[in-house]
Each structure stands twice: as structure tokens, then as C-alpha cells.
Amino acid sequence: MKAKLDQIREQALTQIKSCDTTEKLNEIRVSILGKKGELTGVLKAMKDVAPEDRPKVGQLVNETRAEIERVMEEAKTRMERAIREARMKSEVIDVTLPAKKVRIGHRHPNTIAQEEVESIFIGMGYEVVEGPEIEKDYYNFEALNIPADHPAKDEQDTFYVNGDILLRTQTSGVQVHEMEKGKLPIRMIAPGRVFRSDELDATHSPSFHQIEGLVVDTNVTFADLKGTLAQFARELFGESTKVKFRPHHFPFTEPSAEMDVTCFKCGGAGCRFCKGEGWIEILGCGMVHPNVLKMSGIDPEKYTGFAFGMGLERIALLKYEIDDLRLLYENDIRFLRQF
């Protein structure tokens, strides 16, 4: 009986070894392990075996079956792998052919700059506030300490709808609206469109965008203003950016300053980009003028604040090295796709 089993096993293993398709392998399986297979035949012959030998023979049969099955499984795996390899070999593609793009749209560089600025201040706990673009003279000028006949009114060539209504020349009016709400402390930025009667050229546009910031609280200091804007500059232009505050004048702040940042092209050494200065003027800022606080119903004896404002187009042009402001309003898709 053992000899018979050994013979079946040897024969099976030889057959499996020489087998080259899964179909043939299956035939082998049927011929040996199937209902009418040879090994099954051995099992059927068990009744002729002496009862005391049956367990031993049964074990032998099972061992033989297990080995054949194992070898068969290995052969099957090997064959399937070979088939897959062959298929993949036939499926080689040219990975350098052009991509099939899902053409997503692009955001306007001005908006990108605006969002960069916004996210920095949102991170510092500022709210983003909006205000009307067609504004009252009071909010655009008077409440910002620019009374009628003030020369600053001429400096900002204003588009008027009538004597009292105008297209805002600065986003600063949003500050006043926010302060008038009387909810303190205030930490806000106000991005938006502003208008000045400048003819359109490579560096001027009758309509552009500003972003304005305001903080009002007890004990807000000029040192806080410096610290806040220095951090902003580092986040916007890079960790190594240095800032310089120069005294300046704005009617709505006192003391006032202009802030320069080290040129992000040359790092401050001086290059063509910064006209050899090493510094680039970025924004105006200052401590909110007590008159402005007072007019908006905030007690300047109790509260102080700082404010700052910058031109978004200027930041976009500088950051993305755009050499002509007009590109921002032509909406040429070849321009927009670069952002």
C-alpha cells in the first residue's frame, strides 16, 4: 500500500513539474484527487485493509494528498505570476506622453496676496471686516481727522458721486464703522477695493485694493505695533526679513510711521529690484489719533490703538515680480494660469 502511495506521489509531482498551464494543472488535479482520481481510488480500497492498519494507512493517504495539494498550489501561484508578468510586459506605456489634465482654474494674484495677508492676521486673532465702497465723506475723511479743506483731501484725488457721497479712497473708513459699533477690544483687518483718480499706467490704476488693520484695546503701544508688523513681515516675506520704521505723517494716526522691509531679492544688500536701497516700502501705520477714537465714541484716555494699511497690488507686484499693473485687470488667461 505504501509503495502504491509513493508511486502516486512521485508520478503526481513529475506531472506537476512538467505542467505549464493552469488548465493542465487542473486535469492533473482531477486525475489524482478527483472523484475518480488515483488517490481517491486508494481511499476507496481502504476497506480491504486490515482494521488495525487502517489509521496508519489513512494517515499516509492524507499526508500524500496534502503534499500533492501543496505542490500543486505552489505551481498554480507560479503560473499565475508568470501570466501576470507576461501581461504587464505587454502593457508597457510611454510615461512621457502628455498628461490628461483636469484643468482647474487659477486664483487672481491679487486675491492670493490678500489671502496670504489675511491668513497671517487671522492667525493672530484678527477678524476680517468689510465696508461699503461707495462711502460717505464723513467716514472717508472727517472721522479720520481729515476735515473739509484739509490738503490731504486733494492729495487723494477723490471720485465724487456728489458733495457727500464718494468712492472711498482708502479702506480706513471701515475702521470707523467698526469702532462705532462700540465692541471692544478690536482686532480687525479690512481688505477691499478703493478708488483714486489716477490714470491707468504700469504703476497706477484708478481702482485698486488696500488692506487695513486696526487694534484697539487698553494698553496698546507703539512697541506692539512694531512687534506685530515685524512678525507680519517675517511671515509674508520670509523669516530673515528685517523691518525699518520711519517717521511719517497720516492725519488719522499719531505717531505715524512708514515701514520698509529688507529687499526680498537681495536681502538688503541693494540690487536693481530695490533700486540699490536694500529696503522696500511696504505700508503706512501709526497709533490711532485720539481725535479719531473720540469721534468714533471711544475714550482716548482709556483706550489706545494702532492701525496700518497697505496696497495689495503693490504687494502682489513685488511678491510675484509682475512688472505692469495693467496685467492685473486684463484677465489674460495666459497671465492668470501662472498663479
Binding site: 484643468r103 484678527y126 490738503p151 492729495e155 458721486v161 503701544t221 507703539f222 486684463e330 489674460d332
Partner: protein
């Protein structure tokens, strides 16, 4: 404001710094230096030479050969200049030196013009004698220079000396940006005072002495100010026996460096004092002043007046005039009259130093179209006390320069002078505002440097009259900060309670709109808010369309920028056309910006500013592409109910058969459609173009970012397909309406899966197929569950004239 550093140093004698140091320090203390230029740029190796002999050139008629003593020796120079004589002292540039420009004037080369020894027509020449143009200037600034030829020193100058220094060119001209609050700094003295304080050096202003003979000016002239609201002070002095002559070189040089052309002693003195004090002065020939009386009053509407430049000027009743007893003789603060102007024959001069209303001068100058140096100063609002100092300074210079005899006394017609300001000195509050710990003493030292005196008893800082900008404690804080140094103030962050910065719901919806538009391939455009009123016609708006009621700008840059847009399509179509004209394919743009709808006209209050999401494209895609974008956006902002499209949108600018109003839960939120072919023509778009406009304020209340999980269906659905032949004018929306209405509770969805018009279908009909899905939440449906609903649906459809196909 341009001023030579040498003039500043005249009042800050100890000032000793390089140009760069001066620029940086002044800028950091608040007097911003815009730039500076050395006047001796490219002037190298130029000395005074004296011509000792002149011979004719042997081979050239137009050349001469000069022997020139240059102190260290004699050199031979060949020149073509016609004007030199033996013994003339002239600037000589030596071999290897440089001059600034050519002898014909014109733009100066950046690197200058190097001079080398050479041969002219065979004769050696070891240098060059210079014209004033070659030295980088011109006859305007050096009136003594000849019209053509070499500059000849008129004064006795040492041979071999530095000619550049003798011409006053060893100097640097600084250009300042003066802020509008610092009226006092529109003067040399004002800047010098800042420079002294910045560098901690003594400030030595000129000492104005009392001048005048024993006569009384009131015997010469009287002054009446009729419109005191526009003239708060009028000072007049008289000088007689005037001798017109050139002013001294030092005065000419200082004026020239400031860009003012020297004329004669009298004119130069008025200009000099204007620069020095910032107070414009005017000089009248007193013999032309009728009745020897000055009257200050408004002009009469429509008056015409000839200013001293010979031009006729139209006046109105808000223009302030200087008049004599009979006639107008000058436009106050702007320009004098032809009829009273100073000539070389003048005998007696009337000096005027006045304070005119700045705003009035500014407006008058604008209306008349004549802005002068004087008006530019007046319009900033001048200091009445400085005016007095200035007129006395002018008289002092008349005496010192031997220009005439000053008559004693001053006619001074004035409103009460404003009291000098005083600011309580709360030094701790200044530190609290700045975030500094500057000592009280240091602050007082800073004030003293600036001529701000401290009144110990009252603990107040006394403000001099020229500092009209200092009013409150914040102003004092700025003075402290400027001279303490902005760069020395620490950098801290505000402490205070932390507020959470976040976007509002509106901002989130707008951001979502941008994201979805971009995901769908639309790039963001930005267009102007103002446009031409012709846009309404271009967009075929009917004559009575409410959108024609726009906010109009009263002073636009031009008609093309004159009305605030009431719909956002013009910018979009213009941008698409720009791309089309540049042959850009498949362009998809969106814009997120305001339209401006007046609540009433004329505008008296805030207008309705409405954010519009405008989508537009041409190229790949169609109406349904855009509809898909709209619905993706709605889905993203939680508008997941049924959106309806009403084909009766009534938009003239859209294709009449391809437009739809968009309604969500009964609210109109926008429209979309294909642009009308005539509008396409108007914009030069030669391709089908689709636009959608969503009115963000309308849909904002319908949006939500709340999300709730409602479970995933666990039981299988039953799907029934129906195929029908439908009259062409029945819309899919109507069919869906019937299916939805009659589908019953178990109906989950209906989906159009085929629509066809063509040969197999009879004319006027289309083939439409829907797949209807039924599902229950709690069990597997049986056929019998849906057959009743299907029957209802089919009946409903048949009633609409739809044939069902088996």
C-alpha cells in the same frame, strides 16, 4: 523741497557728516530724504587758471593757443572759445580730469566727460578751459557766465585754487519729502532746525535786526483788509532809493542750488526769504500803487486780470485780490499783476508778507489754473508770526546788500494772533503710548532741541507758533519717538485677551464659490467697478430697464469710467473678448465682485452693494456645463434641495431660447444662459459664450455648512425605466415635476438617461427616457409596492400628451 546742504550748514555750523549719514539720520528723524545729488559730480582736477598769453593757432582760424598759469606751473591749452582774453581767470580741467557735460548743455552723461592731453590740429593741449555748461550748470543759475564760451571769474580768485569750490559746487543738493503737517519744514530754517536736533548740534538762525530810517511807513502806504476771513494778517513795509543790481554771489549760489534762478538783488531777496522762512513775499512798485493804498478783497465775478507773466486770467468772486485805490494789482498769494510789477527803474518798493487762507488759495489756484511756488506755500497754511520775521528779514537784507533804504515801521493789519499752544506734559502717558521707558529728563532734552520750552510751574510744554501741528499728547509722543529713535523703541506683541480670528459665514460662502469655480476650471478675473453708460446699449437693455439707473461719478476719468456697474457682465464679456482676440482657447473666467444699485436717485445714502459671482466661458462645454458648475456650488454650500430653472428669464442680453432664471426654494438667486449673438457681436466675440450670475446676498440665507449624516440605504431599490415620445415643447423639468408629484413616498429619485430628436421620431416630438428608483428604509420592496405609483406616474404623463413606448 530741494536745498543745498551748505545752506543748512549756514544755520548749523557744527554739522559735520557725510551725505549718506545726513540722508539716513534725517530720514529716521522724520525729514525724509528722497534723494541727493552732489553738485561736483564728475568734476575732477579743475583749478583756477590765469591766461598769460594768447596766440593764433598756426593751422586753424577758429582756434587759439593759450598759455595758462595754473599755480603749480604753466600749461598750454588750445581752445575754440571766442571770449577769453589775457589775464582772464578761468576754470581749467587738467589732463586726466573730468567735466560733467558738453559745452552745448543738454543732458549730462552719467559717467561725465574725461579730459586728456592731446593735439588739436598739430598743437599740444594739456587741458581744457570750461564753460558753465561743461561744469554741469547753465546761464540761468550763473547769469554772469557768457552766452557762449568759457566761464570767466569776475571776482579776484587765487590762481591754482579749487575752481569747483569757488563756484559753490562743492555741495550736495538734498531733495526732501515734507509731510503736509510740517509746514515749517517747507523752509531752509525749518529743515536746519530739524538737522540741528537730529545731530544734537546748535541751531543758529539769522539774527533779524531792527531796520528802518526815521520815517514812518504809514506816511507811504495804508492797508485795508476788507475780507478778513481770507486774510488774517497783512504786513507791509517800504524801501526807497532802490538800486537794482545783481545780488551777491553767495545768495545767487544758494538760490541756484535750490533751483531758483538769480535775477537781481530785489527779486533775489524776496526769493531768498521765501526759501529761508517759507513765507512768500511780494514786492510792488509803490509808484504804480494808486492812492498809495492797498485793499485786500474778493474779486468780482467775471473780472479779468493780467498777471505779471502777461497772461489774462479769469476771476470769480472767491478769488482774493490785492488792489490799490483804483484797480486790482495782484492775485493774493498766487501772482502779482502786470500793472504793478517791478522794473529796473523802480524807485520805491512795497513789500508784502501776508497770511492768506490756505484752502481758498488752493482752490483759487486750481480754478484759475495757476499754481505758483507762492501758492504752493500759502495753501499749507502759514504761521502769522513767521510772516513778521520774514518781512523784517527781507528789509534787513535790503540794507545789508545796499539795495535801498528801509523806511521805518511796519503796517500790520491782523486778526488777533492765535494763542500759543500748551500741552500738559504727562511723560508717563507718553511712555505708555510708545511702550518705552524713556526718562522724563530725556524727553525734556528732546523738546529743548526742538525749541519746545517746558513750563515747570504749569508742567506744560509751550508750543512755538511755527509748530501748528503739535496739539495733544500724541503729538508730543511722536516728537519724543522721533528723536529717541523709532528703531530704539522695543518690539512687543499686544497682550490683552486673545480674540479668535475667523471668517464670517458670508466670507466662507464666497470662498467656497471661488473654490468650486476653480475646481471646475474657471480662473479668477478682476475688472473695474466703473464703466461706460454705453454698456447698457451694448447689453441690449431696454430703455426703461431699471439697471440703467446707475450711480454716476461726477468727476470721472472719462466717460468709460463714469457709472458704477449695475450688472457684472460687461467686465466678464470684455475679459473674454480680450482672450478671444489673443486667440486663447477654451477660456473660463469667474469674478467675485460688487454691483452697485442705488436705492434712490439722486444718491443720498449708502447704495446697495451686492456681491456677484459671475461665471463666463467659451470653448469646450455648453449651457449644461455651466448649470453643472452652479449646482456643484449649491451643493457645496448646503443648497441640496431642488433648484428650478425658469426659461422665461427675460434677459435681453441672453439667447431667448437658452436662458434660465435660477430659483432655489422659491427665491430667485441668479440666472444663466448663452449670450445673445448680437451682444457677442458688440463685444467682438466670434464664438458661443455662456454666462451665469449668482447674486450672493440672495442665496446667502439659503446656505448652510451644517451637515448631518442620514444613513446609507441598507435595502435594495427597485428601478423602473420608462421611455416616452414627448411633444418637443414639453420640458424635462415638467416631466420630472409629474414624476416627483405622483411617485409617492417610496420614490427616491428620477434620472434622465436618454433624450433624442431625429429621424426615428416624428416631427415635433422627442424621445425621452427616465429611470425611476423606489426604495424603502425598512424592508426590501416587492413589485407590488411600486406598481401603483408607476401607474399614477404613467397616467399623469399620458395626460400631458406624452406617448409611452413599450
Amino acid at each position: 523741497m530741494n536745498t543745498a546742504l551748505s545752506w543748512i550748514k549756514a544755520y548749523v555750523p557744527e554739522l559735520d557728516c557725510t551725505d549718506e549719514e545726513y540722508r539716513d539720520a534725517m530720514t529716521m528723524s522724520g525729514t525724509k530724504v528722497e534723494g541727493y545729488e552732489r553738485r561736483d559730480k564728475n568734476l575732477e582736477s579743475i583749478v583756477v587758471g590765469q591766461i598769460t598769453s594768447i596766440e593764433r593757432h598756426p593751422d586753424a582760424d577758429k582756434l587759439i593757443v593759450c598759455q595758462v598759469d595754473i599755480g603749480s606751473g604753466k600749461i598750454q591749452i588750445v581752445t575754440g572759445a571766442p571770449n577769453v582774453k589775457v589775464n582772464d581767470k578761468v576754470p581749467v580741467v587738467l589732463d586726466g580730469g573730468k567735466v560733467a557735460g558738453g559745452h552745448d548743455g543738454g543732458p549730462l552723461p552719467e559717467e561725465g566727460v574725461p579730459i586728456k592731453a592731446g593735439r588739436l590740429r598739430g598743437v599740444d593741449s594739456f587741458g581744457m578751459m570750461c564753460s558753465i555748461e561743461e561744469l554741469g550748470s547753465d546761464r540761468n543759475m550763473y547769469p554772469e557766465a557768457p552766452e557762449e564760451g568759457i566761464y570767466v571769474f569776475q571776482e579776484d580768485v587765487p590762481v591754482g585754487a579749487d575752481a569747483v569750490a569757488l563756484l559753490g559746487l562743492r555741495d550736495t543738493v538734498f531733495e526732501y519729502e515734507i509731510t503736509s503737517n510740517r509746514v515749517d519744514c517747507y523752509s531752509v530754517l525749518g529743515i536746519a532746525r530739524e538737522a540741528a536736533a537730529t545731530f544734537g548740534k546748535p541751531f543758529v538762525p539769522p539774527v533779524v535786526k531792527e531796520t528802518g530810517n526815521g520815517e514812518d511807513v504809514r506816511d507811504y502806504v495804508s492797508v485795508e483788509v476788507k475780507d478778513a476771513d481770507l486774510c488774517t494778517r497783512y504786513l507791509a513795509r517800504v524801501c526807497k532809493n532802490i538800486k537794482i543790481a545783481p545780488s551777491p554771489k553767495w545768495m545767487q549760489r544758494r538760490l541756484a542750488a535750490s533751483g531758483i534762478r538769480p535775477i537781481n538783488n530785489l527779486v533775489d531777496i524776496t526769493n531768498y526769504v521765501m526759501e529761508e522762512y517759507g513765507q512768500p513775499m511780494h514786492a510792488f512798485d509803490l509808484d504804480t500803487v494808486a492812492g498809495r493804498k492797498i485793499i485786500v478783497r474778493r474779486a468780482k465775478e467775471g473780472d479779468e486780470f493780467q498777471t505779471l507773466d502777461g497772461q489774462m486770467r479769469k476771476l470769480d468772486s472767491e478769488v482774493l485780490m490785492i488792489c490799490d485805490a483804483e484797480k486790482e494789482i495782484g492775485i493774493a498769494g498766487i501772482m502779482g499783476g502786470e500793472n504793478s510789477k517791478i522794473t529796473d527803474e523802480v524807485k520805491t518798493v512795497l513789500f508784502e508778507a501776508a497770511i492768506f487762507n490756505g484752502a481758498n488759495i488752493r482752490k483759487s489756484a486750481k480754478r484759475i489754473g495757476l499754481r505758483t511756488d507762492a501758492s504752493g506755500k500759502f495753501e499749507k497754511g502759514l504761521d502769522p508770526r513767521t510772516a513778521e520775521a520774514a518781512i523784517n528779514r527781507a528789509c534787513q537784507l535790503i540794507e545789508e546788500l545796499g539795495c535801498g533804504e528801509v523806511v521805518g515801521g511796519v503796517v500790520d493789519v491782523k486778526a488777533p494772533l492765535p494763542p500759543l499752544g500748551r500741552i500738559p506734559f504727562d511723560w508717563e502717558r507718553i511712555n505708555r503710548l510708545l511702550g518705552t521707558r524713556i526718562s522724563r529728563e530725556e524727553m525734556l532734552r528732546i523738546f529743548l532741541k526742538e525749541d519746545l520750552r517746558y513750563d515747570e510751574a504749569a508742567n506744560e510744554v509751550e508750543i512755538p507758533s511755527f509748530r501748528q501741528d503739535l496739539i495733544g499728547i500724541a503729538d508730543l509722543a511722536e516728537e519724543v519717538a522721533r528723536f529717541y529713535g523709532y528703531d530704539r523703541i522695543p518690539t512687543t506683541l499686544p497682550n490683552g485677551e486673545a480674540t479668535a480670528g475667523k471668517l464670517t459665514h458670508k466670507q466662507r460662502v464666497e470662498e467656497k464659490a471661488r473654490q468650486i469655480a476653480e475646481h471646475c476650471g474657471f480662473s479668477q478675473a478682476m475688472t473695474y467697478s466703473f464703466e461706460s453708460p454705453k454698456v447698457f446699449d451694448k447689453l441690449l437693455l431696454s430703455a426703461d430697464d431699471g439697471l440703467r439707473q446707475a450711480v454716476v461719478i461726477s468727476n470721472p476719468l472719462g466717460e468709460d469710467f463714469s457709472v458704477m456697474r449695475t450688472l457684472s457682465l460687461n467686465g466678464m464679456l470684455t475679459s473674454l473678448a480680450f482672450n478671444y482676440n489673443h486667440r486663447n482657447k477654451d477660456v473660463r473666467l469667474y469674478e467675485m465682485s460688487n454691483i452697485y444699485l442705488p436705492k434712490s436717485l439722486p444718491v443720498t445714502d449708502y447704495v446697495d452693494e451686492r456681491v456677484q459671482l459671475t461665471l463666463g466661458f467659451y470653448g469646450e462645454g455648453d449651457f449644461y456645463t455651466l448649470k453643472g458648475v452652479v449646482e456643484e456650488f449649491f451643493d457645496a454650500v448646503g443648497m441640496r434641495g431642488k433648484t428650478e430653472y425658469d426659461p422665461q428669464a427675460g434677459k435681453n442680453f441672453l439667447h431667448p431660447g437658452r436662458q434660465g432664471l435660477i430659483r432655489y426654494k422659491g427665491t430667485e438667486v441668479g440666472f444663466l444662459g448663452e449670450v445673445h449673438p448680437e451682444v457677442l457681436d458688440n463685444y467682438g466675440l466670434g464664438v458661443r459664450t455662456y454666462v451665469a450670475v449668482l447674486d450672493i446676498p440672495s442665496l446667502l440665507p439659503l446656505t448652510t455648512f451644517d451637515r448631518k449624516y442620514t444613513g446609507i440605504a441598507r435595502f435594495p431599490a427597485i428601478t423602473r425605466d420608462i421611455s416616452m415620445v414627448v411633444p418637443r415643447d414639453i420640458m424635462a423639468g415638467q416631466i420630472e415635476g409629474v414624476i416627483t408629484q405622483r411617485g409617492g413616498k417610496l420614490m427616491e429619485s428620477c434620472q434622465l438617461f436618454d433624450i433624442y430628436e431625429g429621424e426615428q421620431i416624428k416631427a415635433g416630438f422627442k424621445s425621452v427616457a427616465y429611470s425611476i428608483t423606489f426604495r424603502a428604509k425598512d424592508r426590501t420592496l416587492e413589485e407590488s409596492d411600486v406598481s401603483a405609483s408607476m401607474k399614477k406616474i404613467l397616467n399623469g404623463l399620458e395626460q400631458m400628451g406624452i406617448e409611452l413606448r413599450q
